[in-house]
């Protein structure tokens, strides 16, 4: 049984008269051995998925199943255990830490909520956790604005890991950091994962990171998963035209997939509302059938793809 499973999730945002199906017919499961990457361009609904998993917003349809139970139908104790088992690291370390709390209090907070430790026990755990992430002891009495971006993100990760969650949701955790910091933080995450079992659900648009660390990938485009496969398969042979575009857009990478793509036009803003495939206007393989019919997510052996080509 997978640890965390999304079943037919639908989340629609209504802005006055505009309806945006941010997440549509979304099925996905993450196990505790997975390093699952969700990729897609800005506005494809990736962060909405994270918020749905964290129980911050409620889906209109569908369920999120955690250890066999719908997270919106948990009793008080089960809910507490859910909050304890799932952790989040956000993209921007400047807004994910409370500017009026000291580093120690920030990292300590989850313990205060979920554990009955004494103050000295909490202090010990906080110090230990910060140390594994390479945060110096002298930092704990400081405020977030006195730390660099990299240090802040380490603090955010320390806070996420302090309860030893079973699954970590990371919403673009590295995109606000420079390349060298990204590498060292990634290495640390991998090291922590080696020391104990923890599923990671990584949301990103950086395919180099996906290739380096994840074992499964789902590609999202305008609210729909268009392709899901193991990382190896996906990078060896991307199937969906959108995945091909994504891979091709990596600088100095996979040049052999380079194909002429029509430029993204302003028209794409309305792609949400066309009846057929939402990639239609940008796709170089488009057929008549794509315009008015939505392709299903088809199973192709070990992988899935949403395209009429297959």
């Amino acid at each position: 049984m997978p640890l965390l499973r999304a079943v037919n999730l639908n989340k629609i945002f209504k802005l006055k008269k505009i309806i945006i199906p941010a997440v549509e017919n979304f099925n996905l499961s993450v196990d505790k051995t997975d390093f699952f990457a969700l990729v897609g361009e800005s506005g494809s609904g990736k962060s909405t998925v994270a918020k749905l998993f964290l129980r911050l917003i409620k889906p209109q349809e569908g369920q999120i199943i955690f250890k066999g139970k719908n997270i919106w139908q948990l009793n008080k104790e089960e809910l507490k255990s859910y909050h304890n088992s799932i952790a989040i690291v956000f993209q921007d370390p400047y807004s994910s830490l409370n500017p009026r709390m000291k580093i120690f209090s920030i990292v300590e907070e989850p313990l205060k909520i979920h554990r009955d430790y004494t103050k000295s026990e909490r202090e010990e755990i906080v110090r230990k956790t910060l140390k594994t992430l390479g945060i110096d002891e002298s930092m704990i009495e400081r405020y977030p604005h006195q730390l660099s971006g990299g240090q802040r993100q380490r603090v955010a990760i320390a806070k996420a890991l302090i309860l030893e969650p079973e699954i970590l949701i990371a919403d673009e955790p590295l995109s606000a950091l420079d390349i060298s910091l990204q590498a060292s933080l990634l290495n640390q995450l991998i090291k922590i994962r080696e020391s104990r079992e923890m599923g990671i659900f990584l949301i990103t648009h950086d395919l180099n990171i996906v290739k380096a660390v994840s074992n499964k990938v789902a590609v999202m485009h305008l609210g729909r998963i268009v392709e899901e496969a193991s990382t190896i398969d996906l990078f060896k042979e991307p199937l969906h035209p959108y995945t091909k575009v994504l891979l091709e857009s990596i600088p100095g990478f996979h040049r052999r997939y380079r194909i002429k793509m029509p430029r993204i036009s302003a028209e794409d803003r309305i792609s949400w509302h066309i009846k057929g495939c939402r990639f239609y206007s940008r796709c170089s393989y488009r057929m008549d059938i794509c315009k008015d019919n939505t392709p299903e997510l088809k199973n192709l052996g070990a992988r899935k793809v949403r395209c009429f080509l297959y």
Binding site: L54, L56, H83, P99, R100, I113, H114, L163
Partner: protein, 279 residues
């Protein structure tokens, strides 16, 4: 952060002048018994309406009482009303603003429409009506001024909360299962407090002004208790023969309110991130 703000405020000369004057008024109010040269209630029929002299620096009033002593004791009334009315306004506004912003939806609509209704009343007339019906006393005045001055604070706090509750550190707190109380008091309120401090500073000045106005109209502090507005009110009847009775309490009101406004202005600038680039 806190030190930085104090540093910025102290850079502003007007604010420093205001701060010093506020300290002086505080000092005078606290040690009125020791500072005042005469008993502010002592009537002396032989020294009615005497102009400023060595004996009575600011002259005497229509009953021969020392104007300086009465102004010194009047500072107590003004500060008491100013601060307590501010406290009531800030507390009410902050609590209602927090509730409206945090819970949103129907509760928000109810509270904010109530704010609109309260703002639609001309405040001064509302206060006049209430004070006219009830027996005017310093406590009634404090409460009434406080309960008619919280609406702007509520709007301010609500706006802050609305933006703060979408911030990632608040989302993160919700994601780990923090209680509403913890989120409101640990994560939202400490980050919304600075604009409230600015509003509080302005509202002290405002409350002092309203109290003086009420006392001037005879609906505030009742004689013989000395208050700046009260002295001014009596002084206006004698303005052609005893200008000192109107001028000096007028200056006291003017300078005190000005000081609070200058301080508030400086605090607002100090807390505005757009102004930070300059230093």
């Amino acid at each position: 952060m806190f030190k930085l703000i104090i540093k910025r405020v102290l850079k502003n000369k007007f604010a420093v002048a205001g701060l010093i004057f506020i300290f002086i008024v505080f000092f005078i109010a606290i040690f009125a018994n020791n500072i005042a040269p005469y008993d502010p209630y002592k009537i002396n029929v032989y020294k009615v309406l005497e102009p400023p002299s060595k004996e009575h620096i600011l002259g005497t009033d229509e009953l021969g009482r020392d104007v300086l002593s009465r102004i010194i004791y009047g500072a107590r009334v003004s500060l008491k009303v100013g601060f307590i009315a501010m406290g009531i306004a800030i507390l009410t506004g902050t609590i209602l603003g927090l509730i409206a912003g945090y819970y949103g939806g129907f509760i928000d609509t109810i509270i904010m429409r109530f704010v609109d209704v309260m703002l639609a009343f001309p405040t001064l007339f509302l206060i006049l009506a209430v004070v006219a019906v009830l027996e005017p006393s310093i406590y009634i005045i404090m409460v009434v001024i406080g309960l008619t001055g919280w609406m702007d604070v509520a709007r301010l706090v609500r706006a802050e909360v609305l933006s703060l509750k979408e911030r990632e550190f608040v989302l993160a707190a919700r994601a780990i299962g923090a209680s509403s109380g913890r989120i409101i008091f640990k994560h939202i309120l400490p980050n919304a407090i600075y604009p409230v401090i600015v509003a509080a500073t302005f509202s002290v000045g405002g409350a002092i002004l309203i109290e003086s106005g009420l006392s001037f109209l005879g609906l505030g502090i009742q004689p013989p208790e000395p208050s700046w507005g009260g002295i001014l009110s009596v002084g206006k009847d004698y303005i052609t023969v005893a200008w000192w009775m109107s001028l000096f309490p007028g200056i006291a009101i003017f300078l005190t309110v000005l000081s609070f406004n200058l301080l508030g202005e400086a605090l607002r600038d100090a807390l505005d991130p757009k102004q930070w680039a300059e230093d």
